[in-house]
Amino acid sequence: MNYFPDEVVEHVFDFITSHKDRNSVSLVCKSWYKIERYSRQRVFIGNCYSITPQRLIARFPGLKSLTLKGKPHFADFNLVPHDWGGFVDPWIKALAKSRIGLEELRLKRMVVSDDSLELLSKSFPNFKSLVLVSCEGFTTDGVAAIAANCRFLRELDLQENEVEDHRGHWLSCFPESCTSLVSLNFACLKGEINLASLERLVARSPNLKSLRLNRVVPLDTLQKLLMRAPQLVDLGIGSYVDDPSSEVFSKLKAVIQLCNSIRSLSGFLEVAPCCMSAIYPICENLTFLNLSYAPGLQGNDLTKLVQHCRKLQRLWILDCIGDKGLGVVASTCKELQELRVFPSDPFDAGNAAVTEEGLVLISAGCPKLNSLLYFCHQMTNAALITVAKNCTNFIRFRLCILDPVKADPVTNQPLDEGFGAIVRSNKSLKRLSLSGLLTDQVFLYIGMYAKKLEMLSIAFAGDSNKGMLYVLNGCKKLRKLEIRDCPFGDVALLEDMGKYETMRSLWMSSCEVTLGACKTLAKKMPSLNVEIINESEQLEFSLDDRLLVDKMYLYRTLVGHRKDKPEYVLLL
């Protein structure tokens, strides 16, 4: 390849789009490194503390799209205290000062302030796309700044963020000249919006393909919006409540018939089940259906709806669908690839729940299934073994039995054999979450068979250090390991310290790791940041090495200790 001029090589690189491949290409030789770095437009940073914005900017002057992730995954479940970190502000400030022509910013689990959003909106004239997932720290004022100042905005996608709502005017901040919107998702905002502004905005956005509304948008507005935008491909309904005999509802039924491009449907944050029949005409063509935020729909309503969805590829649903309902899914949705079943009431056993039966039915009926998230009340080894026989294509398998250490209710055995069967038969498995009663044996299986595993989540499992060691030794592709409440300690932690340089991060909380072991690790591995999060008072009194640490989070980094840590974090 040295015979070709740089421009030719660069042109070849244009066809290489995956981050992994691009990274590999840059390692071949100095010349390729240089060409790759100048031509790179999209960068993904899985841990915002692994590198600094300055070094990013220095290496990739042509950067247009940046994806950043902040807090560790277990922050989703309140295991990481408030203001631990993950601030996007230094990134936006640094980018704003540079010559980078940022067009797209995607953030996950980061702290975003209104000031950051305002700076972002004013610093990049070609800014096109903002996607915020599970972020916090901003209000609708920040959203208003984006709306007002990003003249060529195509995408504003707010997913599951905690946003302080200052009521209403942010939508009116889109100037009349803004006609470029392709995707608008504000389902997570809780407050009122100006409905007339919304209608006008949709009316002047001919390219709008994706629209997800929040719960204050009523059905009659929905009807008007669909009249304006029958070309929608992705629709998130806010409030879906009306009297089926009303005129508005008839109009809605009529206009829905025209929306034959809709492939993805979600929302129903408020819903009257008697109105669902209007949706049936578009069910035929749906590939993605997300009813996981629609507790107003009972099992029967869900079943009736799903019966019309023959082309469904991804289904997110609440467990009130029940095992029988999952049976209907299994016999209807033969193209199903991804299923997520969420608990409608996490703390109550109740009737509205699914068991191993539903999962077995799905595995038997949906041969293309490759991704599963399943919250249930019980699971048996026999069921998992059957699932493993039926499904060998799993990439993601996440099973959460609501009772943390529940054994197989039929045999009273741990679920080692069941999960063992899953990893044995699903050779492409990249992500696995375990639950139920589990011994070291399951980790032996995982180490032996899960050779492509990249992310593993463990809770209340195992008997000894051996468990963790099986995983660390066997899973060569492991990138993220998160463990809580397991009897894994110093022996396991320190056995192969070099391993952590091949991984993005390790989280261990309520395990048996001592402060001394963490110190040893930090000392031997300068390329790792070892953080101790300790909210109890003990650490203040003594730094006794024998003390068990509450929470430890370690990650590889090129830039040493971070400067923004809160008081309760100890950086070793």
Binding site: F74, D76, F77, N78, L79, S134, E160, E162, C188, V241, D242, D243, P244, A272, P273, C274, S292, Y293, P295, G296, F342, P343, D345, P346, F347, F375, C400, L402, D403, P404, V405, A407, D408, T411, N412, Q413, P414, S433, L437, T439, A459, F460, A461, G462, D463, N465, R484, D485, P487, G489, D490, V491, T514, A517, S536, Q538, D544, R546, L547, L548
Partner: protein, 183 residues
């Protein structure tokens, strides 16, 4: 590390249990006993102490089940709204000196609603039939819907009714002719 053998943690440790054993062995507490190398019984005592403090109920295990807070809060909000949001409507009765207000969300269906109205206004609702309306009573329950029309209570399914009902009026029989009341 030598710790584990010396302290015989296996014997004293809170295990995740043999198959079939209860879930007491959940260790949630932030408090950690300092392992004391010289005192086996001390450790045993400390661990026992941990065990004797009643293990928190499942609802108190931090971060379990592993559901995003956003999702948990969403479902919680809906429950709370359902519980405290309320769907209050005015209820008037012909001849009564003042109106009352009731929360329609409290009732599961028409029977509960009628019982509450009967208690509140001291009257009896007649027997409902689709053909004849309310039979055998001087009083007929009616409601004003979103279009402003006055309708007979009981014709449509309960869910539909509570979404459409703006106010209630208990009409005296003599005025209720034409609403299917047989006096």
């Amino acid at each position: 590390m030598v710790f584990e053998k010396d302290l015989n943690l296996d014997a004293t440790e809170l295990r995740l249990g043999l198959p079939g054993s209860s879930e007491e062995s959940l260790r949630i507490s932030n408090k950690r006993a300092l392992p004391d190398m010289n005192d086996d019984s001390g450790v045993a005592a400390a661990k026992k102490c941990d065990q004797e403090t009643a293990p928190p109920t499942k609802a108190q295990v931090v971060g379990w089940p592993p559901i995003r807070s956003y999702r948990k809060n969403s479902l919680q909000t809906k429950k709370t709204e359902a519980e405290t949001g309320g769907m209050y409507v005015k209820v008037s009765m012909d001849g009564a000196p003042y109106l009352r207000k009731i929360d329609l969300k409290v009732y599961k269906g028409y029977p509960e609603l009628f019982k509450a109205l009967e208690d509140m206004f001291k009257f009896k609702v007649g027997k409902y039939s689709e053909r004849e309306g309310y039979n055998g009573s001087e009083f007929v329950p009616t409601y004003e819907d979103k279009d402003g029309d006055w309708m007979l209570v009981g014709d449509v399914p309960w869910e539909m009714f509570i979404n459409a009902c703006k106010r209630l009026r208990i009409v005296r029989g003599s005025e209720a002719r034409g609403l299917g009341c047989v006096v």
